[in-house]
Subunit: 340 residues, 2 copies
């Protein structure tokens, strides 16, 4: 069991290579500070389809297709894909995998799904079970609002703590070698429930799980925040980001010099009027695929801790008075060959 | 990449051990032919809770707890759990994992979820990434009917092709060694869409995907049906079972002497008035955990191909006129040390 360190962490004896990535997004995402890093922008929120759900499925299909094109691979070269989304029964992922004809393992981790896909994909590669693995997730503002909150036509007012579901998809190609970035460690999250039950305050619901996973990661690996150039959660948003720093301070761990959050990075929150920032599986997936991996490739950073967080709830569980629990999975990624 | 054979199959150099299993079910399941194999029966469909969804979560919690008791392990001994269910946002699994405090990877594969959990758990063990892994899924007749079809109070008439969602949960403990049954091969399924759109005819929707995965399994491994004592799908039901045999006949592969289906096994279909038989993640999970592994342990069979099938749809995609696609993942399990 020499790949396992501590209680929740896997250290890959041979790091997993991130060979390539692709990100596609909508108009709002193109207008944010990271817009220029996206591979493809779809100004039409329907992507030529007749429902928001089909539109989201096309987002994911296009992200994977763009990834394959960039990688000069065809769908039949992919051994397996790990895909998920926020839509009931993960239909966006399944319908896009159907059209791509790639063997799929459907996963659900709310907004932590991209981390889960990277974890499972890394284990598949690291165990010698696959040569080419795709990790992909998506979200769409309109399909999510409709499903989790109100129909768009209702024009419901958004509370100040609310976040804006990102219309985007990110896809990553993992392989035993060949990329400029490498996954060296993964820390599996536990579910943390601190009694939050406000579905418009996801940041508060998820921050405690981020604390839990960060503590486990540092404890298991012996790393400290200064061993990273960047620690990025996705997507606690403005409020959750502040909460995480405060909660970590109570643990006497100061992450603030190295810390940012995908939900705070993807939009110009003030001018784009996004309240507490971005959210949704597609938020951390696209920020990671479009921007964070670019920082590593360009050696602007060499050591990244990527930790998407998920809020575990459904409209039904909220109506039934259940708390919203959180989960966060961490992925350590380094620039290949850098002194780390 | 010496663990991979053919296009879709993994052959574990060191087989993965199935150390233990547990199955819990409801009253109807206890009255079926496999009732006596269940570890625990809950005559109250609410399990003391106040909603069907909470009841399902308790089913899963109790399956895992029973598994831990039987294995003389505590929750903290489990490195990771792969869990899923049919309920929106997989809340039954997440809420049960929250109470168990076990690191969770949430998965969604409709009724194929138990196979997916066994696949991913086997890769985690086989790669040296975990010592103890739990694979668990559940379904509940009342939570599923409410979500996918009609409120129970409505008393809707069930068409003859309909199946009955099983109220049960099955949990399996995987480890590098220590059990009497071993997973030697897994074949990852592709999504197959043959244009079925009737949500009350899941068997027809899923049978083509079972054909696809069976063909891939036989082609990748060189095995033929006679290399198995039992090939068990879950849960095509009466109609889907007949369809699968017919479709395989067209491929000149006769599986009928070795073949059965979890949906046809769990109930006495005639006397229990279950139309086309059982369905739901909990069907194949509980038949496998309660009965099929027992057959292997007792050496009544030594070579099993377990292949749960999933129907990929949601009430919304059906309303939007989407087809119901299918997926099937196959798991080859042998009695340890038997001549196979």
């Amino acid at each position: 069991m020499n790949n396992r360190i501590g209680k929740q962490t896997i250290c890959f004896k041979t790091p997993i290579s991130i060979v390539n990535s692709a990100a596609v997004g909508g108009k709002e995402e193109s207008e944010g500070p990271l817009g220029k890093y996206f591979d493809r922008i779809f100004p039409d929120p329907f992507l030529g389809e007749d429902s928001w759900e089909r539109a989201e499925s096309r987002l994911q299909f296009n992200a994977v297709n763009t990834l394959l094109e960039k990688s000069k691979l065809s769908a039949s070269d992919i051994d397996m894909m790990f895909g998920g989304d926020l839509i009931n029964q993960c239909t966006s992922s399944y319908f896009s995998a159907r059209d791509l004809k790639i063997p799929l393992y459907g996963i659900y981790g709310a907004c932590s799904t991209m981390a889960e896909a990277l974890h499972l994909g890394s284990m598949a590669i690291g165990g010698g079970f696959a040569n080419n693995v795709v990790a992909v997730t998506s979200s769409h503002f309109c399909s999510s609002e409709k499903q989790f909150r109100f129909p768009l036509e209702y024009g419901g007012q958004r509370p100040p703590t609310s976040q804006w579901t990102v219309t985007a998809s990110g896809a990553v190609l993992l392989a035993p070698s060949g990329g400029e970035c490498e996954i060296t460690h993964i820390t599996t999250g536990k579910i943390v429930d601190m009694g939050i039950s406000d579905a418009s305050n996801m940041g508060a619901a998820m921050a405690p799980s981020a604390v839990d996973t960060l503590k486990a990661h540092f404890s298991d690996t012996g790393f400290s925040p200064s061993d990273y150039d960047l620690i990025v959660t996705g997507d606690l948003g403005v409020l959750g980001k502040t909460l995480l720093c405060e909660l970590m301070d109570r643990e006497n761990i100061d992450i603030s010099p190295y810390y940012d959050d995908c939900g705070c990075m993807i939009y110009d929150i003030e001018s784009q009027d996004k309240h507490c920032g971005g959210s949704g599986c597609g938020c951390s997936a696209s920020v990671f695929s479009a921007y964070l991996l670019e920082l590593l490739k360009k050696r602007k950073i060499t050591r990244l801790l990527f930790m998407p967080t998920g809020a575990l709830m459904s409209p039904l569980t909220c109506q039934q008075g259940e708390n919203i629990a959180g989960i966060a999975h961490a992925v350590r990624i380094v620039a290949k060959g850098a002194e780390v």
